[in-house]
Symmetry: C2
DNA sequence: ATGAAAGCGCTAACAC
DNA sequence: GTGTTAGCGCTTTCAT
């Protein structure tokens, strides 16, 4: 069979039988000796505790650098209260999960934390097992919750009971309960609607998301608000139900496009539905964007790859999780974090592609209210 | 400011100041006392070491269950050689990364392991920092390497030096070096080409992947092989270069479709390029699939969401990482794993959608060799 | 402001 | 087969 050097133990000055993880690594004792101080002093400095003279601090920090010393997390978490590990829960193969992890990792690396992923059924049937994983073997200092887990009551209660802090991304319920970061859906939908209005559209269809979903509500509100700001009445026949799925967009497009006076543009409140609308429109023989402008929300990878490519709103997923992670680390036990804001709302970015264009049969021009903006939010 | 129950410490019988992770948790001492045995016996049983009587084993296992005891990973890894943590390296927001994590987690959970993610620049500029993360703070017992990291020589050498085992997914180089799992690209491409042949196509274009990429080579070989099996000559004018990107597919489609005798079908060796081909074809006014069949490879999410939706090959990413993880765990230090196979090749699944159909202007029928198969490989 | 000693929960080594 | 002892690398007391 094949050789597998990747799997053999490699020797080292400190290697002992059965100890692979020690390869080349220094301990706090080595640093203390090298700097001529006690272990405790090194520890104090590494944990930025008070009562250390600047002189010693520098000496120790130098020794740390020279020896390329990194404190063993497992040893720290034995005596101390922190594990320096954060949990990231995965509910399924959603592309935004990776982006979220990348953001969380940015914050983790900066703060010397690690990120542990665990799979968890969104329905929460394996809740107990999942919680045990988070608290049992390798207890985490905190958890980052993305939709749909961020609105799972049972999970949140379980975390509360276990005493594990958590920060949420775009939570729809119980918003005062924990720190969270969310996108400015209302403003973003407003901006997108204005984009369509500026193009000259006045009959703009809207496909809603599932009821009870906060983002659904906010995006619809933003749409209504923009129409109102431009002196237009929202016509209810142009507002259809959807469920944030491709199929629901496809299904809603039929009735919408068969209206006696059909819209010249459709704003689907997420990309999946927008793609569905485009698919249906093309099947009906409509040329896009001439016969129909379509706009989405989310900027999923597919958005850039259909023809015409989709105008949409990009959410700052990575930034949101990064900030949420910072909130979590700032509030981890043993760290002062009282001054940090608990909530943060981030703007979205309008990505104009070729699925939106001026209408070929323009309606009466709407009154434009103000200038163009590409960034929404603060 | 808002209340944040998620962030307060909760009391517990064993809670001490600064120790949150102990909430409600039992130690090996509790179990030993409860079962009336020594710590070591419990330890032996939990680590399935030999020399324990069945009677004690049961008693201890019962105590473990009753007390809901889970050994603290940090304590185990202090004394023992294992950390019970595996590393998963992220190079960017690729959708397959999540699928891979899910597969790895399946194997991890089964074996009591945890999965730690770290971001690593595919170019390897932060290689040292990344390796330090893997070996330093929370040392991992092994790493799962997906493309493109699985062919990064510097990274592999670093892991070898650090003595960290790794298993790879679909490695292109140095295949005898470590355990790996890969898809049967050759056979899958053969099956896809046959699908097109069975539909009646005889002029089938092929868009290659980047040179030096093993999958590129194998997929091209599969295509050539199938043509040959059907008694057709591969025409070089139908085989164009690509780089596995949407743009490269789009670019290659132009020359291909402007040929004097253009193909009636195109097999792009990945979905991104297939989407590019479709986009270009539609811009040229071709109706799909009537005027042109397009097939891809990978089954990325977008494949199901373009119109017509894309016929493609689904790779068993989750299964592959699951198996790779098992290889890794089986070979982790302290565990016997000599008998396990080091390499494994998995079949892909042909997903027939509406982008492939019989040609509207059929060429001379090719000689069919054998029956249809949907599953490739073993 | 600094250091010495104790001990976290577990497993390796060595008794018995 | 089973128990005892020691100690992993760190942080916490508590002394100085």
């Amino acid at each position: 069979m094949a050789q597998t050097p990747g799997c053999f133990k490699l020797g080292s000055s400190r290697a002992r039988p059965g100890r692979r993880i020690d390869v080349g690594s220094k301990t706090i004792n080595d640093v203390a000796k090298h700097a001529g101080v006690s272990k405790k002093t090194v520890s104090r400095i590494l944990n930025s505790e008070p009562h250390v003279s600047a002189a010693l601090r520098e000496r120790v920090l130098n020794a740390v650098k020279e020896l390329r010393y990194r404190p063993r997390t497992s040893a720290r978490s034995m005596r101390g209260g922190r594990s320096y590990v954060l949990g990231f829960l995965l509910t399924g193969p959603y592309p935004y999960a990776i982006e979220g992890q990348l953001g969380a990792l940015t914050a983790c690396r900066r703060a010397g934390y690690h990120l542990l992923v665990e799979a968890m059924d969104p329905a929460g049937t394996d809740l107990d097992e999942g919680l045990e994983l988070l608290t049992g073997g390798l207890p985490v200092d905190g958890v980052i919750l993305l939709p749909p887990l961020c609105d799972n009551q049972a999970l949140m209660s379980g975390l509360d009971t276990a005493g594990i802090p958590y920060a949420r991304i775009a939570p729809a319920t119980d918003r005062q309960r924990t720190p969270y970061v969310d996108p400015d859906d209302l403003r973003a939908a407003h901006v997108m609607t204005e984009h369509l209005l500026e193009l000259g559209h006045t009959r703009i269809g809207f496909i809603k998301g599932p009821a009870g979903h906060l983002a659904s509500t906010l995006r619809l509100d933003g749409y209504r608000q923009a129409l109102k700001d431009w002196g237009l009445a929202a016509e209810e026949e142009l507002i259809l139900d959807g469920r944030f799925t491709f199929e629901s967009g496809y299904d809603a497009a039929g009735p919408l496009l068969h209206l006696a006076d059909p819209p010249t543009a459709v704003f689907a409140s997420n990309d999946l539905m927008a793609l569905g609308v485009m698919a249906r429109a093309q099947e009906l023989g409509l040329r896009l964007p001439q016969a129909l402008s379509v706009a989405g929300f989310d900027d999923i990878p597919s958005a850039a790859m259909t023809r015409p490519d989709l105008t949409t709103m990009r959410q700052p997923i990575a930034r949101m999780t990064e900030i949420a992670t910072e909130m979590l680390i700032g509030r981890a036990p043993g760290v002062e974090g009282g001054a940090r804001p608990l909530h943060r709302t981030l703007g979205c970015e309008l990505v104009i592609r070729r699925s939106t264009a001026p209408p070929s049969r323009p309606g009466k021009t709407a009154a434009r209210r103000n200038g163009t903006s590409t960034r929404t939010g603060r």
